[in-house]
Subunit: 328 residues, 2 copies
């Protein structure tokens, strides 16, 4: 059955039943979920957060390298990650889908399965959305979250701050490279890299640990480590110095991609790890409190705003190509 | 200059300057506007509202029948209308744009001019967004609003309620018909119909009057009067009876479209007028308090849920084709 056959209202009905069955919207704060002109909820927290991001077929994904449930997971994950990068808790999602009329309904329900799986994990309610016809698949998700008194900003980095990152940057880009070039790697490598690309984990709990320990500056790595560090540097009017030998490149990426691994770690996008800055002693404390790896990779400098020096452990400048994701 | 030449960050910078110049985001409630992982604001009202809607090229609009500033206005207006239909005040907008790489930058700034014009009028801040490449233009806007203690719901209509509508339903559909069939009508007619199609006015103040007078059930007419009345009837588990002779069809639509005018008024979408139900005496009071025309067109019945009887003033059933907008 195709979406043109079941029709807009039939499709919406099917998806709403999935959301109901998952009991996503059971919170008593939700006054009106899906099915009215707008969603309505009661909010008690004083700081609200909102973000929107799109995944467009053949721009951000191809159906060769990602399955429908993975696409659903990832489309929502990248937005949860943006809320995490502000030090917030994601609460509500609105899903705007654009689909070709001949899309099988089973593909759309599979997309929702992936999305719902992640939403359940982080107690995010899907309270609204929109479905429209279009020549290619596109998924635009808005996530609304809430925060306590402090939020993490791009503009709060200070000269002398230590720069740290969660997880293993470059893994998602290595995964994409493996999938799109159909590289045959070891089974464990394949599994790790694929997962890094299709199943990013939003660092929500980790971001709470940052906020609770007094970190003020953070960003999620969606455009690549260097590109996103540059965003922090520009917003904070500071420079930075990165030591390549400190970069936490995953062993499978090193093994599978050799000398290209550094380029992937610095320039490869879509990791959705947290890049943050703060006093060295705070970051040391955080490393012991956080479950995922946290690695110090350099420091914020008083240099030219937005300028990043990339050096090795002998302080010799390293030349890197591929400065991060440009959308046009 | 094309967007591929100015690049994503160049384009974002240009648009942000327009938003700054318009002082859209001057509210002290806004903690972080555009330029971080997510927007952040302080909220004092307890009920929050959110809605999302997309306009896709060659599905919802063609660049033959709408200019870029009109498209910007309309893309935002349809979302403000959804917040109005809940009895809320729109506060914040997030704009997700998808554009072909060869789109002239001047078209995108013209789009924003239309959007900003409307945003200024209703004091809506543009606090975030996303820009991506895509084969065709698409604009997905999320609007977040707030409401007092009462919201207007689709599910609150009761048997015996009077049904009323603001403005002149069918005017937007008549405008589209005129523009796409290149009909040559009188100058005043052309002006009225074009405006109805490209410049819908969200009924925000009018909706406040409804809420303040104790109306509980409303919807905005985006899918056509009958289609949206059916949404109310289904959500409220009631029937309805519409008297065609009561329908407020604009004189220019009657003159320009003769016997087709009724079909346009009942089935034509994109009017963004408010359709609401309530006690006759309340609606009478509202008619004198509201600036735009308010017309009683029928009543809610205890009949089969979702079933709408369409009759003339002699109670003779009227047959109507075109039951409203289906998106696939």
């Amino acid at each position: 059955m195709k979406v043109s056959e079941i029709g807009e209202f039939g499709l919406i009905d099917t998806l709403n039943k999935m959301i109901s069955a998952a009991r996503l919207n059971a919170s008593p704060d939700i006054l009106i979920g899906i099915g009215d002109d707008a969603a309505a909820w009661r909010c008690s927290e004083s700081i609200q957060l909102a973000t929107v991001d799109s995944m467009v077929q053949d721009v951000h994904f191809t159906l060769d390298t990602i399955t429908w449930p993975e696409l659903g997971w990832k489309s929502l994950a990248i937005n949860l990650s943006d809320i995490a990068a502000m030090g917030g808790i994601p609460r509500y999602a609105l899903i705007a889908l654009a689909l070709p009329a001949d899309t099988p309904v089973a593909h759309v329900t599979a997309l929702y399965e992936g999305m719902i799986e992640l939403a359940k994990l982080y107690k995010v309610a899907i309270i609204g959305g929109n479905i429209t016809r279009a020549p290619q698949v596109s998924i635009t998700i808005t996530v609304i979250g809430s925060a306590g008194k402090t939020i993490l900003k791009r503009s709060a980095a200070l000269p002398g701050d230590t720069i740290a990152v969660t997880g293993y940057p470059g893994s998602a880009a290595a995964g994409l490279e493996m999938l799109s070039r159909k590289l045959e790697l070891r089974i464990r490598t394949t599994k790790y890299l694929k997962n890094a690309f299709v199943h990013p984990i939003p660092r929500i709990a980790e971001a709470q640990t940052l906020v609770n320990n007094g970190i003020n500056a953070a960003i999620d790595i969606s455009d690549g480590l260097l590109g996103d560090l540059r965003h922090i540097c520009e917003a904070s009017r500071v420079g930075a110095r990165i030591v390549t030998d400190l970069l936490p490149i995953h062993e499978t990426v090193k093994a599978g991609f050799k000398e290209k691994a550094l380029e992937l770690a610095l320039g490869g996008g879509e990791d959705y790890e947290l890049l943050f800055t703060g006093k060295a002693e705070i970051i040391n404390r955080i490393r012991s409190e956080i479950q995922c790896p946290v690695t110090v990779i350099g420091e914020i400098t008083a240099g030219e705003p937005g300028k990043i020096a990339i050096v090795d452990s002998d302080d010799i400048p390293v030349t890197v190509t591929h400065p991060g994701w440009e959308h046009f």
